[in-house]
Symmetry: C2
Subunit: 432 residues, 2 copies
Amino acid sequence: VRTTKVEIITIGDELLLGFTIDTNGAHLARELAAAGIEVARRVTVRDDGEAIAGAVREALDRTGAVITTGGLGPTSDDHSKAAVAVVFGRDMRLDEEHLAWMEARWQARFKRPLPASNRAQAILPEGARKLTNNHGSAPGVWMEDDRGRWVAMLPGVPREMRGMLADTLMPLLRGRSGDSVVQSRTLRTTGVAESLLADWIDAMEGGFPGLDLAYLPGVDGVDLRLTARGLGATAADEALDQAARRLKERIGVAVYGEGDADLAAVVLDMCRHADLRLALGESCTGGLVGGRLTAIPGSSDVVVGGVIAYDDDVKVTLLGVDPADVAAHGAVSEPVVRQMAAGARSVTGAHVGLAVTGIAGPTGGTPEKPVGTVWIAADVEGAIRSVGLRLWGDRDEIRRRSAQAVLDLARRVLLARQTEQSSNSAAEASRA
Amino acid sequence: VRTTKVEIITIGDELLLGFTIDTNGAHLARELAAAGIEVARRVTVRDDGEAIAGAVREALDRTGAVITTGGLGPTSDDHSKAAVAVVFGRDMRLDEEHLAWMEARWQARFKRPLPASNRAQAILPEGARKLTNNHGSAPGVWMEDDRGRWVAMLPGVPREMRGMLADTLMPLLRGRSGDSVVQSRTLRTTGVAESLLADWIDAMEGGFPGLDLAYLPGVDGVDLRLTARGLGATAADEALDQAARRLKERIGVAVYGEGDADLAAVVLDMCRHADLRLALGESCTGGLVGGRLTAIPGSSDVVVGGVIAYDDDVKVTLLGVDPADVAAHGAVSEPVVRQMAAGARSVTGAHVGLAVTGIAGPTGGTPEKPVGTVWIAADVEGAIRSVGLRLWGDRDEIRRRSAQAVLDLARRVLLARQTEQSSNSAAEASRA
């Protein structure tokens, strides 16, 4: 049976009750969509045998293809495998081979015998196929009936779930899709409105024959997803390559990456390659830009830190902003943001200084400077660029859009610097 | 029909595909649970008439009570109301009264006639009851059949959904639950492990007769939710009051708030009442503490800002940490974190300085200082307290736990200061 549609069932009491946000379901949906597999429905149920069996049975009847997450751990709360065995009319049995592997692993790693509670992880439905878990001890489970209807059970721990999806399940699903190869590519853009992107793209001659193009807007910008269906692997690759190249030519610098690229990581990489260290001067974002950059492992070789200059006095005393400019132009102004960027750089000894100052709301706006007025600046070794923005959304959105905007300004300035340097060295080379 | 169980259906293509995280579903689930209404299942479907009708029909058959979010807007993508009309076998008709209200509102606000596309918002299933929307123009819809099975349709915009839930739907549901009053109260704790809390609470004599107690652990701590069922309104109130009071006595200072209290807001309020301004020195959290504090509207009257001291040089140059201490004890050490807190305070002129330094991983750990080793400190007008922690989880969790821990340290120090000052003034009063 070809797999073109699946349902996702996420299992857990805390998920159902809203105390944990369902990032697993969202990640699975994005990855499947990127492989051209349509997610027909997502369901969340509590970790209870009857609830799980009911949801799996209904999903199998509707769609015939189900991915579950959660309920594979060793605790007594976990009922997923037994529930799915009931749905398929199978017994549970101990997988001796997996038990031996777990015992050996436990002995090697913890120097003591496997706890009894962990033995339950080696009890699987009869006829189940194990899905390798390179990131934990609970194996995933694949069950299929003679009509080709299937359930894949993944762990609930996000790191293990993501690893097993990438290592094991996606290759298996791609194999099942047979001739009908579905491939996709996503270009991430920021700083250009969806309607303007659409105008640019609609004006492209010839369109994208054989491909679907979807616009996916979010706080960080607009993603463009190209999908090829039923073209055959080589033709799909070629069509996507060509379309991505044409889109990048048309849209230019607004494309900052592909797939699930994070703009903060892109900026870190550009700095790392150019041997530049980076510092921040944050007002309305209050630490969000620093938080995003330092969320990335290894960021310490680029990020030196910076100043959260929330109060105007801090802008003056720690970043060296001229108080006369604050008085004359206000804290949300071009002269102030430029001095903040220069100050972030000079007080920390970094090469690059990024700064943000704005009115995030809900109060503090005026007719001249309404909520959403934001100034951003980037100082790269003394060359400063600044941009004024009018952002929309609530306080949280304005702050997040501001953080994305200043990271994007850094990227654009660094890109221009790269281009300039490589044309200079090309000119030198031709003179040599 | 009493309402004790509901299903939630969230509607939207971007939700289903994982490009938008389903915060509406989580919010609804938490609010309903707090009112003692059990969420039996959560489902996400695309914004498509057939998919919506199918999901609503199945949920009505299973549970008889359904809340949907999304699909009430004016765009042609929205099919929710028509789909639910089909399920109930009703026609759609124009609600003249609502149309007149919308036309008047539009004219008053925008000085021009209502766009044709907005007329669709006034087309409702026959027999539908409107749910007032004080936060937007699309009304909610309540449909009920002669067996008492019902569907409540709320907008998808989170602000509008939350407002309508609080203003209109929750009172309606509470009314339906009749005699069988279900009430709950949640105490938020942090800094104490779930198992230790359980030991303390299990040792309390008499238990909590007539109440359920649930432990809800998360990155920010453990919430304790007390639920009273079937006691009658006055008795439930009294039982919850008494139980909450006894729990607070037993657990003491680890309780930082009730309901959905945010520890950052608690710290801001304490500072505001004591006329104290606050500054930060953040290393491993890289701006997260500042980000949390400044996420709260009006934080600027307390937060002055601070220093993101990611690099050791920045700890020395901007926060005044003694480089000899960094060399002797390492950047993740008690002497360094104390100087960071003092420095944050002194360089900004704030009264309170908070500092964090730690090893968030995945690399950088050593046998003596493994990943998860974190030092935090709070300096309140020169009196410094510091605490060493061993936190678990991945990089993101360690950073978030660190931010929560330093906010909690601030709260405890400010609380002790309050108590001391009030006992001092009591002593003065008795001497007078």
